[in-house]
Symmetry: D2
Subunit: 353 residues, 4 copies
């Protein structure tokens, strides 16, 4: 049985608590929030849980094994550092930290204290993304050509960050999970329409060595909500519409067969347009799967796929996106020696499916 302390009960915290109650081998020992109204609400909802306004009560509690940090990103570093130094495992919201230096430091502390870090990349635990991963790993799609995501809606403007740091981490965590290669370079463009100093519309493009291209369209000012991703492979292509209640993923037996350079010049490109197939995907709540997986990782001392390194890789990309934004969309190259950018895909992921 693992004992949890939860810091932060704002927008996402309640989901963490609700799911921790439903997973096996976990118990919530304490919930913390600084807002008095929220503390009252916690007490109403969970009268038999102890509540505090001082996160140190959680950090210093000898009974607590794991700390869930569900607070704004600006507070992640300090809270995580304290928890890790106190020898506690942490489950922390995305993005992992405000910059890669902090992320690296937390990784080092965790290593020194032999505790685990899991960054809450919830999407990689959805049935849809796991099915996509499966299709790519089994080479069903063939070599990947592109990943094109549109993630727009009339979104809540953030006070201290731009639309990239708010919405893009979803896609960045997903590509870090499903694409084995590492990106070579990145371009980000965007605009701030309301003078908040933070872009509310932005576009990110990632280049890979094998002409794979990733494009992410994020927008806080769209009249309609769109969550559609096109993934093109040499053999097959798919469309993932996350807003569909059913048939979230459609796989198309479509593409072009290119015989030879001559063929191309002679425009002898042969088109395939066959059946479409929509596999059934698992609809269990991703957050529950993720928390259960973290508990298993701790018990079996396995590094989670969404560990600090994965969190760092995402933060690194966000950092570079901001750098490109500040330089009129200049191309930013990933340094080759950045081992941190090589995504680790240990087999523990298999324990999921």
């Amino acid at each position: 049985m693992l004992n949890f302390g939860v810091i932060g009960f704002g927008y996402w915290g309640p989901n963490i608590v609700r799911n921790l109650i439903s997973v096996k081998d976990a118990e919530i020992k304490m919930i913390c929030d600084v807002n008095p109204d929220i503390i009252t609400r916690i007490k109403d909802l969970y009268p038999h849980h102890s509540v505090t306004s001082d996160y140190l009560d959680i950090i210093n509690s000898p009974d607590i094994d794991v700390v869930a940090i569900v607070t704004p990103v600006s507070t992640h570093y300090a809270l995580a550092k304290a928890a890790l130094q106190a020898g506690k495992h942490i489950f922390i919201e995305k993005p992992f930290t405000s910059n890669s230096k902090e992320a690296q430091e937390l990784i080092d502390i965790a290593k020194k204290n032999k505790v685990l870090i899991m960054v809450d990349h919830t999407f990689i635990f959805t049935g849809a993304v796991r099915k996509i991963k499966e299709l790519i790993d089994s080479n069903e799609l063939g070599d990947l050509y592109y990943y094109d995501s549109t993630r727009v809606s009339l979104g809540l403007f953030q006070q201290d960050t731009n639309v990239i740091w708010d919405l893009a981490p979803h896609d960045l965590a997903i590509i870090d999970y499903i694409i084995k290669n590492k990106p070579q370079a990145l371009i980000a463009q965007g605009v701030d329409h309301i003078g908040s100093g933070h872009e509310n519309i932005a576009y990110i493009t990632l280049y890979y060595d094998n002409s794979l291209i990733v494009h992410i369209n994020v927008n806080w000012l769209s009249p309609v909500k769109i969550r559609t991703t096109l993934i093109g492979g040499q053999k097959k292509m798919l469309v993932w519409d996350d807003l569909k209640a059913d048939e979230k993923i459609k796989i198309y037996d479509r593409g072009v067969n290119v015989e030879s350079k001559e063929a191309i010049n002679k425009l002898l490109v042969d088109y395939r347009s066959g059946d479409m197939w929509s596999p059934r995907v698992d609809y269990q709540e991703a957050l529950k799967t993720e928390l259960q997986y973290f508990i298993d990782c701790i018990k079996t001392k396995t590094t989670p796929i969404n560990d600090g390194q994965s969190g760092l890789r995402v933060v690194k990309m966000l950092e570079m996106a901001n750098e490109s934004l500040k330089n009129e969309g200049r191309l930013i190259k990933f340094k080759d020696n950045e081992s941190s950018m090589s995504s680790s895909h240990d087999s523990s992921v298999l324990s999921l499916t």
Copy 2:
């Protein structure tokens, strides 16, 4: 009555001929194509029209007032030059020419010979685009924030050009028509997956002085066909789905009201989410409207909105897109003295609606 000669009867030519037959005050005198099979087909379809394999028969015919040039872009300059020098008006396919130098030269020749050029920017004659223009001009949407177009499908790979020159002219002609300001700079990114030397996936971003941003997503390798454009304004926003048989345009009374800089910092952004409204749009075939308009322009000696200047502005943007592509998506600035970039919006457009 204006007499037409049509050069080129490949993919688009038959539509030009079919519509010329149905418009008022126009008559087709001769149709030209170099392909013998096509010549046979023309004779079957239009036994009472004279056909030729030599375009000079059209250029040199004293009876012909207007030449419709419906051939690959690489041939546009030579054919257009010959026709204009022969004192004939031209209706020419988009993109106008292979480069802006050619476009400028044709414009000068036309001016010298007092004949008109119409570049076939068909989309600006559709009920949908004209309705959008109407909404923008009447300030229904308020100041424009963004124009975001996705124009993807499993497209025919072109031998001599990339996906931008194939698909983007539609959007570039539309923004040239509906947006009064002129773009300040442009970035284009793309990838060639089949080694044809031409990008089959590309993204263009255009920056304007007032933080208006235009983004165009073109792709020849999409499993599904998408023709969706989001247009966001300070007052209202709209979604244009050109594949819908009905309800092509939906206008949303949605957005954010920003009181002040303080408001933003305090996250006091006020959201509006009201009704949606889908106006009825005119469904007449755009090409017919366009050809009738050109005939009227010739008779009334009016410069068409889609004249050589408009064609040049589009070619210029395509040129800069290629330049950016060749330089890893470097930002290309429009030179301020380029008067050619200031889109002309003479009132003749009103004669349309």
Copy 3:
């Protein structure tokens, strides 16, 4: 403050409890269920509520003012009778009872004991249905021509009832609410495919005096879920798609204008096809609105619109549907003297909007 006792915590009961907690001036005194596992779950979820397996504990409790009966229809009569005779108001699941005789008897007991009955016709408290009611009452649609509902999905087969008693009460309660006239006759058809003795596919048609026709398509064996209703009026028509997250209601300025009998014979029917408009609808949870409304009715001694009479009218229609089913879809006429069939529309409904 009104004290509630809730009987039944199966599929719907938990929603009643959750919403009672969130409404004003209500308190849950006791929850009852006969299933031991469910009792355990109630205790986990609501440790500070008293729980019982004997409904008499609720009936006999002097503290309890209102009893919510959330059990299978076969048990409604006995439980409701006991509660009403004990002088308690009741909130009871739809369908009200297994037959109209029981319904009438409960209405009489309630009247004698001066307590209120509210039948849980949740749908009439949704933003969508209230908007439709508004449009009809304001004559926006003109005289009603038809109401055509498709309510199909891969549904849970019921042991003791057919698909009509399971799904049609939603539509019957809605038309009882939005249509002022009373139906004149009814036909029901259906088939039982799995030999359960209960139809799993059925169609109901209701005839009204002014050529208004209502058709309801219910199906437990559809591969896809559909919740679409077309409502046609002489002036306008609407489509209500309850599965849409947004734009649930679309109003079309379409129809035919018929000048005269001659016009028809000469086929001079004039078609209108104008704009479409999708009004914003209130998205508050209907059940919460309904429970709050019942509490207000009790406090102000107002008869709810969804009272016993409305429940009886729905049960009557279900009864007649079964009669028609048993007689090869024979037309069943409503007896004119059935005052019970004239739907009451007291102004208390206005207190909703």
Copy 4:
């Protein structure tokens, strides 16, 4: 080479002519219409075809082998009779005739004169319907449970017929083609809203011996166009949306497995909800396929699947629908001795695929 005469060039006639030009071994000898304006249009479109206003010119022409009758149903009998008696094969619009007596008489005349009748049941030659037929014949769907069609739009009111005779023939011809059993009984209900004497909204239900049920919803007053059919089988179910440009047919691996009567009583019904699959369907124009097939039938002296018998079966159902409409939706039983109702499915259909 077969020589055709075409009588009627109104709404559908031009499609017949256009497709006859493109099929093999057919030649149009003469086109007839009584309307002078239409005759002018024919001459413009087909200057090298002879045209007449007197159908007898076609009937009496010794050169003509086949007569296509594309006129209002009220004229079918007289024109068809004249053509058949003149020893010509006929291709005739649906519905075949105004009543079954006429249909039977035409069948007898054709038999006597050894000529063929093909009734234009175009839909059974579409890729979609042929794919559905294939799935049913290969028992992919298992025993059929239901066929539920919604065929509504803002339709042209007909002067001399109701919405059933206008729209239902499509579905009746389809079920006659895909369902081997014969219907046992029928119910039709409908309403006339504009006082034309003809129903503009109607519902037909057909009962089969094995609890298969067919339901058809036709409506001339719908604000939106819907062409959706649900087909449920014991093993699989499908949705056919004929308005989709792509993915017209979706097959769902869904249903219920019923072990035993006990299982049902114990509600132990086991649900399947697996993958969805959308097969590619042939998009060739159905009318062209149909005409080519008729030409082949004539040359090979094969009875077409859509022969006079099939036309008669559809007319019979339409007749009974009207009878039921006139009797308040009374159930009309098919007489068992009506051999005409047993649909013939000779293998010639295979020559299609």
